[in-house]
């Protein structure tokens, strides 16, 4: 396979990307039995995590997981769009939860860009192959939208520039999959209390370090996807620092380009699948036509926007404040899609205890958070007003 030579956006590359997509789907068709979940949907979170790691290991063994990742971390090179296509293909087939699978996109690039090269080369393949799971320790009880106010403290044992170890104390919250994770990309306060984004440092912490306690939180759909994580004198080697001392804000911001391009494209692929599932069983009348037509319209506009965003990323290598627009469009389209389910499948979300009903109910409830996680809709609007419309600061 020569797909690793596909360059950024041009017509020849578009054709090559289409070839890659076709070959990928043919392979997924041929290996469907091997990849399909071995439990009835939705399964427990334990089932889903095991399935995700199994899918990753099969894809890694076959060589698909490595496309789009640099060779220095065990990848096969080529543009990141190759991995976006892979994530979208497995989301469209419902082989694993796209939200959990696409966490790779916000974790691996951080290590590649900010970890010492040996560390990145050692651990990224373990994430890709499903040998490990990682989590992201960003939010804190008092630092949600205002992330730069975070207080989880890292203190050097000795001088900050020469210390061989750091000691961490504090608490994180909304840490997805913390109870399953082997490592954590953690943001800590290393500057003065009020140093905001100038005094934050990122570390790559082993989750089995003494002093870490994980307390899963039950979401309103009854699942335990995220957790509180407590750090009590946790010792971390200095060579686990990601990026510069007090350079953690850059690490935190570096996740946005892939979160808001590749991850969104995977989420969109899944939303098309779910709208298809709704269209399969929706009543055949004009009220239903209006409702599914409206959801389809929003998904199409979102898909068009996200496509343009991926091509801009491929060309420019990074993205900026304009991804706040993608974020709002994803949230709105997702909620519209699940609202359509509730409007057309009478009693399903509310009362249906069949397997299909359980999945719709869980996803409907989860979709309520789409305007909250990853930066609230209000924060996105503030960013758009200030950065894209050039309206003077509101502070």
């Amino acid at each position: 396979m020569a797909f690793s030579r596909i360059g950024p956006n041009d017509s020849r590359s578009a054709a090559e990307l289409a070839d890659y997509r076709a070959e990928l789907h043919a392979w997924l068709d041929a290996n469907h039995e091997k990849l399909a979940p071995r439990y009835p949907p939705p399964g427990t979170l334990d089932d889903q995590i095991a399935q995700m790691q199994r899918v990753k290991s099969i894809l890694f063994e076959a060589g698909w997981m490595q496309f789009g990742w640099p060779e220095r971390v065990g990848g096969r090179g080529g543009p990141p769009m190759l991995r976006t296509e892979l994530g979208a293909a497995i989301a469209a087939r419902d082989l694993t939860d796209p939200g959990l699978f696409s966490l790779i996109e916000v974790l691996a690039p951080t290590l590649i860009d900010f970890a010492p090269p040996d560390l990145a080369a050692a651990v990224v393949p373990r994430l890709l192959s499903g040998a490990e799971l990682w989590c992201q320790g960003f939010s804190e009880p008092d630092s949600g939208s205002d992330l730069a106010s975070l207080r989880c403290r890292a203190v050097p044992e000795g001088d900050a520039h020469t210390a061989s170890t750091w000691v961490i104390n504090g608490q994180k919250v909304w840490t997805s999959l913390a109870q399953y994770s082997d490592r954590c990309v953690l943001l800590t306060r290393t500057g003065p209390v009020d140093s905001r984004h100038r005094g934050i440092t990122a570390f790559f912490v082993d989750m089995d370090s003494p002093g870490i306690t994980v307390r899963p939180l039950q979401m309103m759909n009854e699942e335990l996807e995220f957790a509180e994580v407590f750090f009590d004198n946790v010792v971390v080697p200095a060579d686990r620092m990601l990026g510069e001392l007090n350079g953690g804000w850059a690490v935190a911001m570096s996740i946005l380009p892939y979160e808001r391009s590749s991850c969104f494209w995977q989420r969109i692929a899944y939303l098309y699948r779910r709208l298809q599932a709704l269209v399969d069983v929706a009543p055949d009348d004009d009220r239903a036509a209006e409702v599914v037509g409206n959801a389809f319209l929003q998904l199409h506009a979102l898909r068009a926007r996200s496509r343009a965003t991926q091509h801009r990323l491929a060309k420019a290598g990074t993205l900026g404040a304009e991804t706040s627009i993608d974020k709002l469009l994803v949230a709105t389209a997702e909620q519209t899609t699940y609202d359509a389910v509730r409007r057309l499948l009478t009693g399903t979300v509310e009362l249906d205890d069949s397997m299909a009903g359980e999945v719709w109910r869980s996803e409907y409830l989860y979709s309520r958070a789409a305007t909250i996680y990853g930066g609230t809709a209000e924060v996105q609007r503030n960013i758009i007003a200030r950065r894209l419309l050039g309206l003077a600061s509101d502070e």
Partner: protein, 324 residues
């Protein structure tokens, strides 16, 4: 297709040519400006880019022109000419407007202001599945200018009644393509107008001082304007997708997104502009009225959404339409 730099240059050239002509004379002949820019040649060479650039500029400047007649003629397989007008589908519809009743050709529909000067009119009739077309002399049509919500849009009400001789079968794909290109043209015009409304509202929000500060500092105002930008950007992306993946479906969705966008943008901007935006002293009303008038051409958002939804349910299939 043309490259990005050429595009930017053409956008600026077309927009400033129209804006300059309107600045010199509010009633300037914009069709003459487009003719000087060699619009019909652009349409022939690169229809996607030409429609995008010209109609966006018409929307942004609130100009009135009859380029839509050229787009439809070209889609219907004719070489566009200035003395031929095209009978548009009825307001809020996209069926061919003509009917043959016994031996009589009958039609009652809309046209652009070209119908006031052209010698002939192209009339498509029948159904979407079995269309025909005929060219008639304007003398066999009754025409009157529509005042309506936007008198400056130039809409003409046209009534045709005459002998049906000379009608020839039209490939249904040609009518489908005319509707698709018409939708894209109108959607681009709405996109240009929507962005113009947003610019007017942002300028006002920065200049208007209440409670000792520009109202742009209030979050309630900022969030409305942010939502308007989200809508405008989504429309632009949908239009780019329709240009890059030209199909009847991508054009229909772009037109529907345009209708929704115009409503969202107009609502937020009208509220931010408040009193002054309610007067004819401020230019906002022109864009508002133009987008309301254009929304009905080739089907409104609500009608297209219903049509698309019916098809999803009939086929029980949700197509992705565009890929990376």
């Amino acid at each position: 297709m043309i490259d990005a730099d050429e595009r930017t240059l053409m956008e600026e050239t077309v927009r400033s040519a129209i804006a300059d002509a309107l600045a010199a004379d509010e009633g300037a002949d914009i069709d003459a400006v487009l003719a000087r820019l060699d619009w019909r040649q652009m349409l022939d060479d690169a229809p996607g880019d030409a429609i995008d650039i010209v109609f966006n500029a018409l929307g942004a400047t609130n100009a009135t022109a009859t380029a839509l007649d050229d787009v439809l003629q070209s889609a219907l397989g004719q070489k566009p000419r200035a003395d031929l007008a095209v009978l548009l589908p009825g307001f809020a519809a996209w069926d061919p407007p003509g009917r043959i009743d016994a031996d009589d050709l009958r039609a009652r529909s809309l046209a652009t202001v070209r119908a006031a000067t052209a010698g002939e009119m192209l009339v498509v009739g029948g159904t979407r599945w079995e269309p025909w077309s005929v060219t008639i002399p304007m003398t066999s049509a009754e025409r009157s200018a529509v005042h309506g919500i936007d008198p400056k849009a130039g809409f003409q009400s046209v009534r045709v009644q005459g002998r049906a001789g000379g009608a020839t079968r039209l490939d249904p794909a040609a009518w489908e393509s005319a509707v698709a290109l018409g939708r894209r043209a109108v959607a681009h015009q709405i996109a240009g107008a929507s962005r113009a409304m947003l610019e007017l509202a942002c300028t006002h929000a920065k200049e208007r001082v209440q409670f000792g500060r520009p109202i742009a500092r209030f979050q309630a105002v900022r969030h409305r304007l942010a939502d308007a930008l989200v809508a405008v950007e989504a429309l632009d992306a949908t239009l780019d997708a329709a240009r890059e993946e030209p199909k009847p479906e991508t054009a229909a969705l772009a037109k529907a997104v345009a209708g929704r966008t115009a409503r969202t943008v107009a609502t937020h901007c009208q509220q931010v502009l408040a009193g002054i935006g309610f007067t004819m002293e401020h230019p906002f009303h022109r864009f508002l009225k133009r987008t309301i008038a254009l929304e009905g051409l080739f089907g409104s958002a609500d009608e297209i959404v219903l049509d698309v939804g019916r098809r999803l349910l009939a086929e029980r299939r949700v197509p992705t339409l565009i890929e990376l």
